[in-house]
Symmetry: C2
Subunit: 343 residues, 2 copies
């Protein structure tokens, strides 16, 4: 029986649904500088901007407790929000953490989650200032809101990329995606025969990237020291292709990137080969690496050209809302967003 008045969520997809929900949202306060549509909201706060970002992680959707240690989960919940703050060129300062647990969790289990939360707060120098603790009928839910601060002249939006800007990355991508594939495979092996112990030693790097990603706040400090403000920035949570398209759309520009310049670790390539996954897939469409993808003006290039920590992967051009990749075989292919399908 079909219901003509019912639209399924997966007909729209995650980004379509967000566009749909937010179509009528209007901003009334003069101190709301930026609302929906970037990595974080921006609020005028005297001399500085305050940026605010929020993320909710649900068991069975965003994490699988059969292979995700509770400490790492707590750490990751903070790191992914801090990453959104960094993507605005801001430094994080406060977080609130709301957590819902079923009664299968003991106090000791909750302590392990908070060990990870506290370790991340210490590492990123953020204060845990509030939250909510409640019970859940089903799985574990963690919702984090992070605030950060940035001088008004240093904020980086998704929307500032200009023709001829250089597209840069803070580190290698695709490892978290391949780490997840290894974890899912070992889980299946274990489920089939509980006497089999997971073999993860050979995959330490990529599994670590999945289980305990780091937000690149170190780059925000580097930008200050180098005297650079990225013209646009976003963090790679859904995959390089998807994020580049976000920057192009927000900035009303186009982009050209080079396949061979996308930083992918050899261990990620090796795992992709083992899994018969096309070698371009993890780097382009793998998510959850939380590296920064940003553009700098040509004028700033000389300040960073010899910096070994920055990867230059392409340039901005004028073709609006279009991103293309020059493959290793020197073909030009359009990029399409895969993102993560949660629905």
């Amino acid at each position: 029986m079909s219901d003509k008045n019912r639209t399924e969520i997966d007909q729209m997809g995650e980004f379509g649904l967000i566009d749909h929900i937010t179509r009528d949202v209007k901003i009334h306060h003069s101190n709301t500088v930026k609302g929906i549509g970037d990595d974080a909201a921006v609020i005028d706060c005297g001399d500085d901007y305050m940026v605010v970002s929020t993320d909710m992680l649900l068991e069975g959707i965003h994490f699988d407790l059969s292979f995700m240690p509770l400490q790492h989960l707590g750490y990751k919940a903070i790191a992914v929000n801090v990453s959104d703050i960094a993507a605005m060129n801001a430094l994080p300062e406060q977080v609130t953490v709301s957590i819902a647990v079923t009664n299968r969790f003991s106090v000791e289990a909750i302590d392990m989650i908070y060990q990870g939360i506290n370790a991340a707060c210490k590492n990123y120098n953020v204060d845990l200032v509030g939250g909510d603790t409640t019970s859940s009928r089903s799985g574990l839910v963690i919702s984090v809101t992070a605030t950060g601060r940035v001088a008004k002249d240093k904020i980086a939006y998704r929307s500032g990329a200009k023709k001829d800007d250089i597209i840069c990355m803070s580190g290698d991508v695709g490892a978290a995606y391949m780490g997840l594939q290894v974890l899912l495979r070992e889980k299946k092996v274990f489920e089939a025969d509980p006497n089999m112990q997971p073999k993860l030693d050979d995959y330490e790097y990529i599994v670590g990237r999945q289980l305990r990603p780091e937000a690149r706040t170190d780059f925000i400090h580097d930008f200050r020291e180098l005297g650079i403000v990225p013209t646009s920035m976003i963090d790679v949570s859904d995959g390089v292709a998807s994020e580049i398209l976000h920057l192009c759309k927000a900035s009303n520009v186009g982009a050209v990137i080079y396949e061979q310049k996308i930083p992918v670790d050899q261990r990620t390539f090796d795992a992709a080969h083992e899994f018969n996954i096309p070698s371009v897939t993890p780097g382009l469409n793998g998510g959850e690496d939380y590296e920064l993808l940003f553009t700098i003006s040509q004028d700033d290039y000389k300040k960073v050209e010899k910096n070994p920590n920055i990867y230059f992967i392409g340039y901005v051009d004028e073709e609006p809302n279009s991103a293309r990749m020059v493959t290793v075989g020197e073909q030009i292919v359009p990029l399409s967003a895969q993102g993560f399908k949660h629905f």
Copy 2:
């Protein structure tokens, strides 16, 4: 089989668990003015303070979709957070909304939730500035973070109550609790015989207080006009007894309240009578009314003594961390916190 290393959450209770989790939390940023322990965190923001509060609502724990209309749920999710902002004597300005839904929800159902969210944002004059939309394996989850602003000399903490201050309330309590009892009863009737239609007409007031509570931001405007800053304030989410004990503990004072002065609507009394619930229970231990409970200094009493919208229910004394009630029968009984048991 007992596990000596396992502590059950319900051995600790909600407040015990929060104390346990937050025992090692330290504040590092000089602009973090107040962390965990009040209705909202407080962040220095130039001339003003910014206050930040967060709440997570889960299906089956905080709401029951068999009688909670989706629009009202959206409205309530905003209202309860705005109420926390008001409890700091601040006015709300921004909210972020994260929502997780199962695929039994259609786009039209999500639209209904957002109709309520948008109506609340309009009513409380707040901007919806961000959030997260994801899928859920089980129930609906809504997590809201609200920010607000207050001049530094007007902030109200839980901790400022002084001896001889007058304890006040912004409106009647217990109605939301009795409304919930009615809704639960009608649900049972309906489950037993689906041909029975719920009889809610006679309970419009108390059911409305449960399904669509309002945050008392109007009082924050009134305080400005009256030239009053409450010496302490909290919103009544868990019940008057519990909230008074929070104020006493934070302020290191005691309190005496009068049973007959607690504002309880006649319709709430009537429903309690019908349900054979002691008439004192809803007013003292019923939660979710989201009225403001606050103290003012004797010096400010003359500014409000004839204000028909403020209820004076008792006074602060010096006995630390102890609250007592003078009953209608003129007995003195100690107050104990019932709160809401989520676990």
